[in-house]
Amino acid sequence: MGLIESGKMPKPLTKLLNISRRYSLWVYQWGLACCAIEMGATFGSARYDVMRLGVIPFPASPRQADLVVISGTVTDKMAPSIVRLYEQMPDPKYVISMGSCANCGGPYWDSYSVTKGVDQLIPVDVYVPGCPPRPEALLEGIVLLQERIQNEDISARWRGEPIVVN
């Protein structure tokens, strides 16, 4: 992997690498509130069948995961655990924020105990709106994230440059 570290990745190799990464996303399910049930319906039910998109929803721990779906209300008491588990995930890692609560606080925008947006704690790649979002919406979010991964230059990511999606 000397090529990546030196910052020179041939284009075809990047493309090949990205196709592989795109269709083998191991997703860690972070179920917090109502959205957890819709996430369970997306990942666990035969009707929506998320595995046809190359998403595998059964990692045993965050250390094996590429993607985490933060679904539900993030409270101030929960916040340190979220940061800690995010830090346990190996790079490159992606975050989908599912539902209004995780996006911005949602119906609890004036609550004293709710963190208004998980993006205050960890960087978020895709926001899925809705209260709760339908399973189809979460699938759309996953497809968007896959497009983003496809257009990503892994060596640029290692250098810390922002991702530009065409």
């Binding site: 179920g31 109502c34 039910s45 035969a46 009707r47 409270t75 008491k77 588990l85 119906p107």
Partner: protein, 389 residues
Amino acid sequence: MNTTTREQMAYIAGQAADARLNVELETEGMTLNIGPQHPATHGTLRIVARLDGEQVIEAEPIMGYMHRGYEKLTEVRTYPQVTTLINRIDWLGSFANEVPFILAAEQLMEIEAPPRAQWIRTILFELSRIANISLFLGDMGVQLGALTPVFYAFRDREFVLNQIEAVTGGRFHPNFDRIGGLKDDLPAGWIEETREVLGKMRTFCDELEDLLMGNEIFEVRTRGIGIIPADVGLSYGLSGANIRASGVDWDIRRDNPCGLVYDELDWQVWTHPDGDSFARYWVRLQEVREATKMIEQLFDGLPSGPIMAKVPRIIKVPAGEAYVETENPLGAMGYYIVSQGELVPFRVKIRSASFNNLSIAPWLLKGVYVPDIITILASLYFILGDIDR
């Protein structure tokens, strides 16, 4: 195992662990931290268990990871806005959360919903019970290592959610109940579709009975595990299927059907004398079956007429206090509203079932083995939003 021997066992195990701490080169008591994010805890519950080998000496649930401040938020929301919020307390049976609040507000305003609205309310109430408990029926299997039931549960639950969505427009959070009636009438052809779905749910119950109840592993892991004697359960304030599984014949639907039409139906309250995890599962399975029968009876007797009473455009609830309790899927749920005649409630106290159902956990987990923690917590069936609010 009765109460005395259980307490004696826990005492002996505790003494043994404490004594061992003083002896060199011996194993110490271990502290096991379950959660706050663990699939077996239905959300973000954390349990700190002190172990002696495989045995639990004491277990303490730590709550508040899902505390959203409902009771404070209701003080700055108008009455119609509150229903939007309280949908999300018990997110699996959302419609059932609205009903007691609306009934309490109606009691203060001294208005009554028209008969048709009351019947449709009862139909949706029971549908949300099916949607809620059917997930439990699959989830209990998953926690004991049987993966198939949860896939069946998610498959068949979709049908019920579709029917709820067809009426209310929301899969999860209908926000359909209004003070004085309902937002809308049933759509055309809905009743026939729902009858088909009810048939599917009965098949689902039969399937689970075949899959799980006849399963030897399931029986071994649930029978005699987590026994709640009736008097202990009552003293901890247990309600719903948890207390009915201990042989207490108490159901608010039958005993005090305030505002809902349960007294016009022919149905039965299911109880089980054992009080163990298996009994709790069995009672809930029968309740789903009973709910499908109740909904069919409700369809047969559905009266015609308006669905909304005469209600002022701007709702101001007169000063006073009211408490209404209903039998929600998880147990007794009630709202105590204090009004001072303004647009917003002065104070709302929410009595949710799961908080009391979980409060027995430290007593129940004393002296059990580690795998049984999962069985007991799964069979108590709580939802974290309902505990922390």
